[in-house]
């Protein structure tokens, strides 16, 4: 998928002016944030589980190649195959190849962010294979020809009215003419339309929340059951994964599953958690005849053992997005690629390059709420700052900003000059303000004064005043 992260400011501007989006984003605090907190409060061991989950992933990353090899062996022992792909282009080509190997015409899909990375749907369509999204959120945005705006709630940016309009437009061809009002009815209509698709589908493609080395299993987690119908009813199951999704054992997967749903949606456990290990067995009455795991690298192996290693411990719960003041103000599309919010701002520059994605690590207040709630305790602000350091060194970003910081730092190292320069600046602001307590506009500060006044400095700096006081005999 081609990134538009360079246009972040413009994207954010449009997002802030988008009434439908702003309505859809309102009250996420009451929903997801409170929901997570309630679930966490009900499990005394939650914090220990976070530590354990983080340790599991760190251990895996320290031994990643060994684990991947074992995983592959086990998949093959179960009758499946593992396909290794360096780039998104390679991966989608591989998926097409697999589809063509059984002359597939239609493909049902469970939600997969990796599928987004490889722009799989458009690619398949361009090669006469029809992809059908089955997760309701993904189905909605497929109709709208849009990207997901959140990694677990892809259509969160859509209002009820927008969904009704989409269904009304696109369900005509199924003989549905009424424009529905109630979400219940929309859900039922979508279910009715999608059910035969599962049965007709040649290939079912899912993501993989985890890959278990012990058993060669991939794990998916859904609330709808679409992932299960997708993989069970088709003739071929393809699971899309990336190398860092490995966990050592079933028990380790279990530990991570305990913190995943609680962090993502505030549920104790997602409705459907399925561990898939290979092909249909000879006596099975249902299941896919063949099972394939596509492992896409796309820059992740470059992160192993480096400054961004910890980002690879992410379990894609999406909690950081819901807790982020920036994401909740502008939604996911403004970030311009597949992964938005705090985790997206760390991951994206690693995958598409810092030059393209430079805005993302900069558009953060470092409030730290993301790290506070991350189930894996990933030090997100630290890594965002690391991107900023790399950008500064590489001279990316507007030169005025670098010059401004350099000037500030130069002055700060020279107290006498600093005092001179800053009293001039604050004096100037006071002059401009006159008797007013705050200024509506200030030269060079358009970003600030766009929606705020600039409070007028009190006048006379503290350091000047204290020096005068103490010279005049006011203690120490």
């Amino acid at each position: 998928m081609k990134p538009t992260s360079r246009a972040f400011k413009q994207n954010a501007h449009e997002a802030l002016g988008d009434k439908n989006l702003q309505e859809a984003l309102s009250d996420l605090e009451g929903g997801f944030v409170q929901g997570r907190l309630n679930a966490v409060n009900k499990l005394p061991e939650f914090d220990q589980l976070r530590d354990a989950g983080r340790d599991i992933k760190h251990h895996v990353l320290e031994n990643l190649d060994v684990y991947l090899e074992i995983f592959e062996e086990k998949v093959v022992a179960n009758g499946g195959q593992v396909h290794w792909c360096r780039s998104p282009e390679d991966a989608r080509q591989k998926v097409l190849e697999l589809c063509r190997s059984i002359d597939a015409k239609t493909v049902t899909k469970g939600k997969s962010m990796i599928g987004e990375e490889m722009d799989l749907n458009h690619f398949l369509e361009g090669h006469a294979v029809e992809p059908i999204e089955t997760d309701f959120g993904e189905y909605i945005i497929q109709l709208a020809d849009e990207r997901p705006s959140h990694i677990i709630a892809p259509a969160i940016h859509k209002t009820k009215e927008q969904v009704a309009d989409l269904f009304h437009e696109h369900h005509q061809k199924y003989g549905k003419s009424a424009r529905l009002e109630e979400p219940r009815d929309m859900l039922d209509e979508a279910r009715e339309i999608l059910r035969p698709k599962y049965i007709e589908a040649d290939v079912g493609i899912t993501g993989a929340n985890f890959m278990i080395a012990e058993t060669g299993s991939t794990v998916i987690v859904t609330n709808e059951g679409n992932g299960d119908l997708t993989q069970t009813l088709a003739k071929m199951h393809i699971a899309l994964a990336t190398p860092e999704k490995i966990v050592p054992t079933l028990d380790d997967a279990t530990t991570l599953l305990r913190i995943l749903a609680r962090s993502a949606t505030g549920q104790e456990m997602s409705v459907y958690t399925t561990f898939s290990s290979g092909n249909k067995r000879p006596d099975d009455l249902d299941g896919p005849a063949s099972y394939h795991v596509v492992i896409l690298d796309n820059g992740r192996t470059d992160m192993v053992g480096g400054d961004f290693n910890d980002m690879l411990t992410c379990i894609k719960c999406g909690a950081c997005l819901m807790h982020c003041p920036v994401w909740t103000a502008i939604g996911g599309h403004a970030y311009g690629w597949v992964y938005p919010g705090p985790m997206g701002s760390v991951l994206t520059p690693n995958l598409v390059g810092l030059e393209e994605a430079c805005h993302l690590p900069n558009a953060s207040t470092f409030c730290g709420r993301c790290q506070e709630i991350c189930p894996q305790k990933i030090p997100l602000p630290r890594m965002l700052r690391k991107h900023r350091e790399n950008a500064f060194t590489a001279r990316l970003g507007p030169p005025q900003e670098r010059m401004g910081i350099a000037l500030w730092a130069w002055l700060a190292k020279r107290p006498a000059l600093y005092r001179l320069a800053t009293s001039l600046a604050t004096g100037a602001l006071r002059l401009m303000a006159g008797k007013r307590g705050s200024l509506k506009s200030v030269p060079l500060a358009g970003g600030w004064t766009h929606s705020r006044n600039m409070p007028t400095p009190q006048g006379g700096t503290f350091m000047q005043q204290i020096k005068a006081k103490r010279r005049a005999g006011g203690a120490p």
């Binding site: 599991i56 050592p248 009455l285």
Partner: protein, 237 residues
Amino acid sequence: MSSARDDILGRIRGKLGADKRDASEQAVAERLKRTGPQPGQNPIPARGQLAAPERLALFREMAEAVDATVAVVGSLDDVPTSVTGYLAENNLPAEAVMSPDARMDEIPWADQPLLTLRRGRAEDADAVGITPVNAAIAETGTLMMTSGAETPVTLNFMPDTHIAIVQASQIVGTYEETWGELRGRTPRDGDGNFMPRAVNWVTGPSRSADIAKTLFLGAHGPRRLHIVVVDDNDEKT
């Protein structure tokens, strides 16, 4: 020219240090032996670790909290009436597709002759599916089903109503116990591969909140999950 596989694995080992490969293999081998609830393993919530009657009560509470319905009966003999009663209450036809599993044969379905049962996997027209379970986990009110010749998984997902028959003795406190049981099964092959094609954890009926963040039951999977627990535990325990 190296394959993508060699490329990817090679880059990883390059980052980790070629000289550390042997130590890695050893660490992994030791780690893969670490299975099951033992001291020093992953923390396991205390919540489900209760005596049998309390486990049943917790299982019920957790399952009902996620909108499953639970009926507790005293013996296998009571199951058929419980099932037909449930179907009638919910205005559902007295017909279902059922797992071919031998455990279902121990239930005297003939006591309810008006209940039409077909054994096999689910088809699109099936409105009700009846299955046994491999285990039930009290910690979150979760059912665990495993695929097999007698336990097709389509029964868990396709029919609009899923009725699961659980023996109280199948209710465990934690997921980890269920993995222990699976590992103890006879391996399919000489390499100790014990996993069935699919293991399903089911926690309540299907749901979605994708439209206007409002939660509804019955997305793609079953709209109703009804759990009949046969409480064969000794009353005095």
